[in-house]
Symmetry: C2
Subunit: 357 residues, 2 copies
């Protein structure tokens, strides 16, 4: 039976990425050696790193004066690195969920003064705050573009008067971004990019070096820039996997093309959730709904059938549909690599479940 992988992350990757990686684990770039056992300083692996960095620039239309890095430690380490490198007096954070809260807390507890400009915690993060004010005197405004757990997303670059820092872990490469508005963009690889173990960083060179605190070596973006992302040994398989997905995305036509496909998949699924009397979206305002993570629960009158639907969906090959414990219900993560057919298969399962009950 065909599996439909709706996991939130690590999550579905293109067949191309899987096949090329499996091949390179046995024989990398014709060396007769595995990508796991060649020096990261070999010309073959340096080419992988350089091509991956170059493709990120190309696909996201990164302007001159920005550096692209592949680091380790995921967004969780960026929660610390971002303020270490950018927070001098005060920073503004928008709190839209678990990861946004963690980023805010890390900066506030260990680095410096933080202003929470708005929070949707009052409604279990089921909406994106509007009308908040970002003061002009903060070092930066930090937000999380997509909230994997709560199924909300900020679909367009906010308009603020200060430089922005954004955690784009779960929607990077799903749509165009105006990188020039940001001092820093970071993203764990394990959603739209590749296997876990790589963290993508896009940083504005001229914005660095303005804080007065000493920054430990591994936490200093300048060190990684000076060393072309090779200050220490990168995860060679994770970076190789990211390159394959970037090649796949380029071949497909880039972020403008995938954005249309993503919109189509999301529309199909949200339409069924809104139509089907057994289910309900957890995000009331359609404008706030995530194109990447579609969260839904049983309608109140069918609440006791949650397990039954989960089992039914599993029996039809649906994988990773269980919602995060903070929300309950279900979450269909429909990242870039998810084909429309899998979303259709889920919709069919929802319809069939409705008919049976």
């Amino acid at each position: 039976m065909k599996k439909h992988n709706f996991s939130a992350g690590p999550s579905i990757l293109p067949e191309f990425t899987k096949e090329k990686t499996a091949e390179a684990v046995m024989n990398f770039a014709g060396t007769g050696l595995s990508v796991m056992e060649v020096s990261h300083r070999s010309k073959e692996f340096v080419a992988v790193m350089e091509q991956a960095r170059q493709l990120v620039k190309e696909l996201l239309n990164v302007p001159e004066g920005y550096s692209v890095l592949f680091l380790q430690g995921g967004a969780s380490l960026q929660f610390l690195m971002a303020p270490m490198n950018f927070l001098e007096k005060k920073a503004a954070y928008l709190n839209t969920g678990t990861w946004a809260s963690k980023a805010l807390k890390e900066a506030k507890t260990y680095v410096g003064e933080v202003l929470e400009v708005a929070s949707s915690k009052d409604m279990n993060f089921n909406y994106i705050p509007k009308g908040y004010v970002v003061p002009d005197d903060v070092d930066y405004f930090h937000y999380t573009s997509n909230n994997t757990i709560f199924g909300t997303e900020i679909h367009e670059d906010p308009e603020v008067a200060v430089p922005m820092i954004c955690d784009m872990s779960s929607d990077i490469f799903s749509r165009p971004v105006d990188v020039s508005k940001y001092d820093l963009i970071y993203a764990g690889a394990q959603k739209n990019l590749g296997p876990s173990g790589a963290t993508l960083v896009i940083v504005k060179d001229a914005a660095l070096g303005k804080v007065t605190r000493p920054i430990p070596t591994m936490l200093d973006y300048r060190i990684h820039i000076q060393n072309d992302s090779m200050f220490n040994t990168p995860g060679t398989v994770p970076v190789f996997g990211c390159l394959q997905t970037l090649l796949w995305l380029k071949e497909l036509g880039g972020v403008e093309v995938i954005q249309k496909v993503n919109r189509q998949k999301a529309d199909l699924l949200y339409a069924e959730i809104d139509r089907n009397k057994m289910f309900r979206s957890t995000v009331p305002d359609p404008a706030d709904r995530s194109v990447m993570n579609v969260t839904f629960v049983m309608a109140p009158e069918f609440a006791e059938m949650e397990k039954a639907f989960g089992d039914f969906a599993s029996s039809r090959g649906m994988v990773g549909l269980k919602g995060h414990r903070s929300v309950g219900g279900f979450r269909a993560s429909i990242y870039n690599a998810m084909p429309l057919e899998s979303v259709q298969a889920l919709v069919d399962v929802m319809k069939e479940f409705e008919q049976q009950n």
Copy 2:
């Protein structure tokens, strides 16, 4: 032509590790999904993490009261994490090479007071200092057991009166270790353990929590212990690869067995270096010579033939033999996965080169 992979790291891995990883990249644990695209919280991947941690305990005979973690960021991040978690008043460091110097510098520059108890920098780190004194009042004694670049190794656990912290990146699992003498052992995976992107940490639980500084979340060993190495998303492929190598090592008989094989390989190669009039070891005292990284240069009267030997060895399938720029000449890294036959092949090439010249 068969390749003999003498790379210093990432470096040769068992065929078993490569085959099992390639297989899991296409179909992991019978899920029909890739190990790159399943949730790290799936029961299949949790089992990988748990088995890997358990095998580390078994193979190194780790006593009760220690935690085993798989983190990210390599030894370079441990250079910061170790003092952050353990340095309260003062720490003692032994300086035996590039990596030992970096560990010392990171602790001293960003964390606290550091005493360099001895250094072999005066002779370009070609020996292990002896007779140094570690004061009783330091928080810990830090050393690097094997110096990958300079080809020296501390073959037995030092006898000091304070807790020890050791960077065992390049000789862990090559021989037994008395873990009970250490508060902390850390090692980048990419030599004897697996692909790059995983960092092994063995830490004494009761030794933690004694420093007064605030420790950022991702740098706090206690956070990772509380979360069973899953506080953030681990590199799933790197950890999977490590597990395969641990399984391979267990099947082979463990660290006592591999220690004998390693000694045999090293003896064979050092004997040829000492015998062959064209080459010279860079480490004069045989007691200080590394069993993992065998560094050698052309004898002075054959100095101009360095490139010729490099080319000759390459033409016979030898890969990764070029020495680090700080030492020059050649370096044969003969980690656990390197078969005796490959060392014999190198010895044959050295003999043949001697006969031809």
